[in-house]
Assembly symmetry: C2
Homo-oligomer: 341 residues x 2
């Protein structure tokens, strides 16, 4: 889109007024980009036909910087919510999309972000069906915040619940950890590592669907280790199940340059956010087949089984080190990396 | 809730980390307040059973100040989305709730807002089923922004669409206009009017349901004149219908003190935001009965029929003045009152 033709270089307060400037912004950028019969109703909301069990998830994205290596806030806002819906064992279908723009954001940047939303939505197979745009004064926001709320149809074979987790279940991780957090961090700190670290933001919904098609209720839980990283999510799971989790340190999938970057910045990769990685906790009898299926997929080619559920040390995650030592993995307490998503 | 027992006086970045501080905030305030089986799943999303046509609407609330005469951002965020869902001819059922908090917001204020969300949700008969909390650094937000996304079941008798509007249809307004905008404005400007102007924020979903129960598809359109006010919403409707709208100036329901405040501040009440007022465009043969039903309701006791749909002046709203003059009512262009909702 040639933004010089839009007639405005920046988003300003008038674009959030609900008057003709808002309509102009919507017509020239939003409706033009997403053009679908739901959004084209241009009403206060959209009407959709539903039958069955639906999963609903909401997330606001406040990441800084808004453009980073491997993506931007637009595609992150789609992938994040699509993945959250998928983690419920559902097939994402629709998204709502709400912007809070800081006055002065360039129309160019806004358009790039909207286009990324569209591209990511298309890749995930979801439609943007309703939205909202608000503008706040300079200094009262930070360029752009995006909320997406996603709706998905629960997979007919899915039965995802921490209540289903059994002793002996395997803990499988779909790819290298800590990439998203370290990409953002190196961007912020202006660090240049030997080769560039790129965010792993991507949609995992089709791989999740394939696993549910094949393994149904043998998949006991899905979770995506975003804020707080792998350590926090595993810890949170153990608090819910009255069982323990043991993971093997040298199985944790971690790229060398990400490990090096973490060391330089004094961060533990176990607590660093991921965006395109998920954890599956599955029945032991299908674990090898699950890993094989995941490794065959682009989104899961670096899948590893990192541990299992134990009757020992209930409510605790224990990491077994290379030389046989054991340590408890605590959840993240405060903030390691603010505004990572 | 005695916030001194929470152990933290302000919301800080750690509360948005996804770690134990986030969990603490959620357990002590959010889950405790909303306590329902959907939210208690504590998963990335909630699973809900749906059948039929559903209306979905999203809105981010960025109002400043966050506390104002007649309400606060919490109840506004519920009522606003509940009403948007109702305007689609639907019965609101569920809401998602996403906070973007600026570091340093007092726990007291946050708790008050959360309690107002709960109170407003109860009054509207909706459940908060999933949520999100993000925290941004001081100066990168403005106290608190809230996104709510609402889901409602389309009323079996509803057929709400601007395509159904006929020449002769009556334009009915449910109450005094411009109250919300002027309440916010006087708060901001520190003005004290003779008697206090109070925001009209409220939920209108039960009145909307009653109208649909009684008059079904004789109700052709509902709209709530929020941002941009009555003038902008009527203008927007005429752009969609290839017919005109004539309204009678002295029928517009406007309280004297609101009119006076508008005059002092140089604002046209037709462009000032409302939050608890809605417009119904209905078949002429039921118009009197609709007005009567609305007047019998607390939420519609000041209902007035202000005009009708005409074949003349298509795509234009014309206001007929007391002494017989006519003028075109244009939509709002830029921004009269930023951050009014």
């Amino acid at each position: 889109m040639d933004t010089t033709k839009l007639g405005f270089d920046t988003i300003n307060l008038g674009h959030g007024s609900g008057g003709t400037m808002t309509r102009d912004l919507l017509d020239k950028i939003i409706f033009k980009t997403f053009n679908n019969p739901y959004l084209n109703q241009k009403h206060d909301g959209s009407i959709v036909k539903f039958t069955g069990d639906f999963a609903i998830s909401t997330d606001s994205f406040v990441i800084s910087p808004i453009f980073f290596k491997g993506g931007n806030i637009g595609e992150l806002a789609v992938n994040g919510t699509v993945n959250d819906v998928a983690m419920c064992g559902a097939i994402p279908k629709y998204l709502s999309l709400a912007f809070i723009v800081e006055e002065g954001l360039s129309t160019d940047d806004f358009t790039k972000i909207v286009n990324s939303v569209k591209m990511a939505a298309d890749k995930s197979g979801v439609l943007i069906i309703t939205g909202d745009t608000k503008v706040v004064e300079r200094g009262k926001g930070d360029k752009i915040f995006i909320n997406t709320t996603g709706f998905g149809e629960v997979h007919p074979k899915a039965n995802i619940s921490s209540n289903n987790i059994l002793v002996g279940d395997k803990i499988i991780v779909s790819g290298f950890i800590a990439q998203h957090g370290m990409a953002i961090m190196s961007e912020r700190e202006g660090l240049e590592f030997e080769s560039t670290i790129v965010s792993d933001t991507t949609n995992v919904n089709f791989l999740v669907k394939e696993l549910l098609d094949k393994f149904g209720n043998k998949i006991h839980l899905f979770r995506d280790p975003t804020r707080g990283g792998l350590a926090s999510v595993l810890s949170e799971i153990t608090t819910d199940i009255n069982k323990g989790i043991t993971i093997i340190e040298n199985k944790i999938p971690l790229e060398k340059q990400v490990a090096a970057a973490c060391e330089i910045l004094g961060l533990d990769p176990m607590y660093v956010a991921n965006e395109g990685v998920f954890i599956a906790i599955v029945s032991a009898d299908v674990a090898d087949a699950v890993v094989k299926t995941m490794k065959n997929s682009e989104k899961g080619k670096n899948t590893v089984c990192i541990g299992e559920v134990t009757s020992e040390h209930p409510n605790k995650v224990v990491m077994q080190s290379l030389i046989g030592g054991k340590r408890i993995v605590s959840p993240l307490i405060g903030e390691q990396l603010p505004r990572i998503c």
